[in-house]
Amino acid sequence: MTALLYVLGALAALLLAAWAMRLAGRALSGNHPRFRDMGFGEAFGWVFAAAALVFAVWLYGREGAVFFRWAVQGFVIFALAAWLFRLAGRHIGTGGSRKLFRAMPLTASFGVLVVLIYAILAIFAGFIAPYGQAEILGAANVVPGGDPALGGNPAYPLGTDQIGRDILSRLIYGAQNTVGIAFATTCLAFVLGGSMGFLAATIGGWLDQLLSRAVDVLMAIPALIFALLLMTIASVWSARLGVPLTLFMVLIIALIDSTRVFRLARAVAGNIVVMDYIEAAKLRGEGLGYLIFREILPNALAPLLAEFGLRFCFVFLTIASLSFLGVGIQPPLADWGTMVRDLAQFINYAAFAPQAAAAPLLAAGAIALLTVAVNFIVDWMLHRSSGLKE
C-alpha cells in the first residue's frame, strides 16, 4: 500500500517537473521551436528519462548492485565495440560495403558484429576452446568464478560440470552445436514451408486448400507441446534406427516451424502471383519451375530473409526450451539450453556469490545476445526494404 503511495507520489513529482521543465525551457530559450512545439507527453518523457538516468547512476554506485554494474558495463562495451566496428567498416573494405556501413544504425552494426563473432566461434571452436567439449578433466563440479574460497579453480574460470568438463569450452562449443543445429533446422523449415507455400500460391485450388487446412491443424497444436510429444516418439525410433535423436529434433522442429513459413511464403507469393509479369510469364507458356524459381523466388527473397532471421531466433529458443525440458540436444554435445538448465542452480546464490550465478546467465545470455543481434539485423533489413519502397 505504501509502495503504491510512493509510486503515485513520484509520478506526481515527475509530472510537475515536466511541466516546469517545459515552462523554463520556453522562457530561457526565447520560445525556441524545440520547446514551443513540445507536447506535454514529450516533456514528461524527457523528465522521466532523466530521472531514470539519475536512478541508474545512483544504483551503479551502490554496493551490491553487481549485476546492474555488469549489465551497464556490458551494454557500454558492446555499444562501443559496435561503434568502433562501424567506424572500421566505413573506412575499410570495398566501396559497396563502406556505403553499407555508412547507412547502418548502431544497432545493426552491433548485430553484424555479434553474428560475426559467433560465426568465428562456431567455425573455430576447436581452436579457441581451451579443452574439448566432451573432455573429462580431473576436477568435477568446480564452482564458477575461479575463487578457490568458494570451491573454484582459476584454470576453469567458469568452473566444470558434474563430470568435470570445462564449462567455458562447452560454452564455446555450444556456439557450434546450438547455432549450427538451429541454422540447419531453420534452413530445412524454409525449404519445406517455402516450397509448399509457393506451390499453394501458384497452383491454388484444391492443393492450396489441402495444404492450408493441414497447416491449420498443425498450428492448432501448441508448438512446444507438439514438439515434446513427437520428440518422445522419436526417442524410440532414434534408438531403433541408431540415428541420433538430435537429427529427429531437427526434423520435428523444422516440420512444426515450416507451418509458419508456409503461411508467410503463401502470403508473399500470393501478392506476387497477381503481378502482371507473372501473367506475362504464364502467357509465354513458362513451366511451374520457372515461375517459382525465376520469377517468384527472387521477389519473395527479401521478406523471406527477414522472416528467416526471426524464425532462426524462434527455432533457437525452441531448441533451448526443449533442451531445458530435457529432450533437446543430447549429451555429450554441448548446448546452451541444457547448460542453463544444469547451471540454473547457481542463480540461487547470486546474493553472496555473484560470480557463481553468472555461469547460467552467461549461457542464457549467449542465447539472448545472438537472437538480439539477429533481430537487430532483421529490423534494419526490414527498415531498408520498406524505406526503398517509399
Binding site: G39, G41, E42, G45, A49, G64, F67, T107, R213, D216, V217, M219, A220, I221, P222, A223, L224, I225, L228, L229, L230, T232, I233, S235, V236, C313, L317, A320, S321, F324, L325, G337, V340, R341, A344, I347, N348, A350, A351, A357, P360, L361, A364, G365, I367, A368, T371, V372, N375, F376, D379, E390
Partner: protein, 329 residues
C-alpha cells in the same frame, strides 16, 4: 449482417473440423508413444501379468480405431471420459464415484486462465500504449529505447527471463515470492501476488510482439492519405492516432493479441515448471509422462479449441472493426 453470420458459421464449422483432425493426430501420436500407461505407472514393478491386467481394465487391449471412436462418441456427448489413473484406481477399488477428466482439468485450466488473464491485463494495455507512443514519437530516443528493450526481452529464452526476474525480484530484492503454488480457496490478493512473477515473465515474452505489431500497423497507416487528411484538418496528433489510425489498425492488433493469448494458454509449460505454477501445461506433461491418453487428449482438445476459438474471435472482431464487412454495399 447476414454475411457476417455466414462467415462466422463457416469458420466455426471449419474450426470443429480442425479440432476433429487435431484429435486424430494427437490420438495417433499418443498411441505411437513408446510404452503405455500400464508400463509407465508400474515402472520398475512392471510384470507381464500386472501390465496385462491394467491393459485389460483400461481397454488398452482393444483395437485403436474402436478406442478412438469410443472416445469421440463420448466427446460429442460432452463426456471427456475418465483418466487412466482414475480408472486404474477405481478398478482397484471396484466401483465408486469417478472423478472425470473434465473435473480434473477444470481447476488447472482455471489456474492457467488466471495466469493468462493477469498477464493479458498487464501486457495488452502496456503493449498497445507503448506501441501507440512509439508510433507517435517514431525514430525518437523513446522509440529506439522501447524497441531495444522489447527486442531483448523477446530474444531471451523464457526460463532465462524467469530466472533473471527471480534473481532480482525474489533473491536480491525479495519483493515477490518465487513460488507460485496457488491452490483452491486462496484469497484473490494472495493469489494475485503469487501469480505476479510468472505473469511478469510472460508479459516480457509477449509484449514485444504486440507492441511492435501495434507500432508497425499504426505507422503503416500514418502514411495513408486519410491520416494526412486528418492532420490537414488541424486535428491534434494524439487524436489523429487514437481516432483515425487506431480503429483501422485494430484488425492486425487484434490478431496479434489473439495469437499471444493463445500462446499464454497453451505454451507456458516452461514458466509453469520454473515457478511451480499448477497450470494445465504441467498437467499435460505429467499426463504424457504416464501415457494417460484421456487427459492428453482432453488437454490437447482444450489447447486446440482455445487456439481456434481465439482466432475465430479475432476474425470476428476484425470483421466487426471493418465497416466494409460490417456494412456491405
Amino acid at each position: 449482417m447476414g454475411s457476417v453470420t455466414r462467415i462466422v458459421v463457416q469458420r466455426l464449422l471449419l474450426g470443429i473440423l480442425t479440432l476433429l483432425v487435431v484429435s486424430i493426430v494427437i490420438f495417433t501420436a499418443v498411441n505411437l508413444l513408446p510404452g503405455d500407461f500400464a508400463q509407465a505407472v508400474l515402472g520398475q514393478g512392471a510384470t507381464e501379468e500386472a501390465i496385462r491386467s491394467i491393459r485389460r481394465d483400461l481397454g488398452l487391449d482393444q483395437n485403436i480405431v474402436l478406442r478412438y471412436l469410443d472416445w469421440l462418441g463420448g466427446v460429442v456427448r460432452g463426456d471427456l471420459g475418465v483418466s487412466f489413473a482414475q480408472m486404474n484406481f477405481q478398478s482397484n477399488m471396484g466401483g465408486g464415484e469417478m472423478k472425470t477428466v473434465a473435473a480434473q482439468i477444470a481447476p488447472r485450466f482455471g489456474n492457467t486462465m488466471f495466469l493468462a488473464g493477469v498477464t493479458a491485463m498487464i501486457a495488452v494495455p502496456l503493449s498497445i500504449t507503448l506501441g501507440v507512443l512509439a508510433a507517435l514519437y517514431r525514430n525518437s530516443a523513446f522509440d529506439k529505447g522501447a524497441n531495444l528493450f522489447t527486442l531483448s526481452s523477446i530474444s531471451s529464452p523464457e526460463f532465462f527471463l524467469a530466472y533473471v526476474l527471480i534473481l532480482f525480484l525474489a533473491v536480491i530484492y525479495p519483493v515477490l515470492p518465487s513460488l507460485s503454488n496457488i491452490y483452491e480457496g486462496m484469497g484473490f490478493g494472495e493469489r494475485l501476488e503469487k501469480t505476479l512473477l510468472p505473469a511478469l515473465t510472460l508479459t516480457l515474452v509477449v509484449t514485444a510482439h504486440m507492441m511492435r505489431m501495434t507500432r508497425a500497423a499504426i505507422i503503416q497507416l500514418l502514411s495513408s492519405p486519410y491520416i494526412e487528411m486528418a492532420r490537414l484538418k488541424g486535428i491534434s496528433p494524439m487524436r489523429v492516432i487514437v481516432r483515425h489510425a487506431l480503429p483501422n489498425a485494430l484488425a492486425p492488433i487484434i490478431n496479434v493479441i489473439a495469437l499471444n493469448l493463445a500462446y499464454l494458454i497453451t505454451g507456458v509449460v516452461v514458466v509453469e515448471v520454473v515457478f511451480v505454477y499448477p497450470g494445465i501445461g504441467q498437467l499435460f506433461v505429467d499426463a504424457v509422462k504416464i501415457r494417460d491418453i484421456p487427459v492428453v487428449q482432453a488437454a490437447c482438445l482444450i489447447f486446440a479449441g482455445a487456439y481456434i476459438l481465439l482466432n475465430l474471435t479475432a476474425d470476428i472482431m476484425s470483421i466487426l472493426s471493418n465497416p466494409r464487412l460490417r456494412h456491405p454495399k
